[in-house]
Subunit: 218 residues, 2 copies
Amino acid sequence: MVNIKSEEIYQLEKQYRISLINSLIGYRSLNLLGTISNDGITNLCIISSAFHLGANPPLIGMVIRPEREHNDTLTNIKETGQYTLNNVLPEWYMQAHQTSASYPSSVSEFDACGFHKHYIREFKPPFVKESNIRIGLELREVIDMEINGTTIVIGEIIHILTEDNLIAEDGTLDHAKAKTMTVAGLDTYYLPQPVGQLSYAKPGIEPHLQGDHANHQA
Amino acid sequence: MVNIKSEEIYQLEKQYRISLINSLIGYRSLNLLGTISNDGITNLCIISSAFHLGANPPLIGMVIRPEREHNDTLTNIKETGQYTLNNVLPEWYMQAHQTSASYPSSVSEFDACGFHKHYIREFKPPFVKESNIRIGLELREVIDMEINGTTIVIGEIIHILTEDNLIAEDGTLDHAKAKTMTVAGLDTYYLPQPVGQLSYAKPGIEPHLQGDHANHQA
């Protein structure tokens, strides 16, 4: 077993440290973040920092870093107050990864990386047509983090665009059926296999499998 | 295709809405959060809200909800200023899920759910002995979210306890080799399979596979 301590972390070679720290917490939510400027220029970038903040009101948080291409995104979100999150599928995850390249502000990653825009009424930013689980959000809060210059953006879910057969009876979206991908670290993409759906945990009752996944035990 | 709009989301049956909203963003980082009170009572709870905030300084954020068992955790973190995050493995993910049950404050979920405490020098809270990727954190910031009563906790990584053979040459932790699990929604657990590790994206250069995963293409 190794124990890498704080002072050693700071002494690691920069790219090695970035890879290590980014991969620590395991698999992460993976989405394409779609925005549009007031001038009508669309922007698309892959993010792995979305987190569930709460169900009532329905809120999602995400971290925006101060790099240039992300600033376009943040500027767009502040301008229009709206943005979309779209899941990533195996047939085109390489194009999704490509949206992280530093394109000039005048270029839309939708066009540069081969994605189609899907618009709905009374909502400005485009969804990704190729995705099958798409979320439309309205900006609720911007938290500027003094500790490292990042921005935590909180949005309320106001549209859920998906296919009927991807919603299970209990309301859960079936990401295995949807073929949603996940990422660990900076650049390694994964497709998860279901192991088990567990019943609500109560003290004194042994944890056990429930529902459709009862026969998928590891 | 369905479009579930804001007003419809609010009208959904409560448990259905919770399941739907929790599952929207896809797969999530899955960890056991270990703490200890000043009186020496340990606490362990499963969380899926950890997010990468930045690599320099090395920071992880997470969301703590205002429920009772989580309050023990938050109180402990504020008291000692330290906590641990530990990955979840297939051999014992059911016990990990069981830590979400509402045990009385006097009961340690380490004991109730069958986990062993692993202590290191000059660090108060216990790590989970059964995990193979373990992070020791020091509290840096507490953000009380007025919008829904949750708390965002920001910590700095000051210990990384893992096995030498789980760190790839570039610094990335190999979660597939470690058998780290992930969760989607409230209660469905997954084991991801690697699909591809992609090269750093640059404008005008086609995205392509790199490294050990080049033969794992989907």
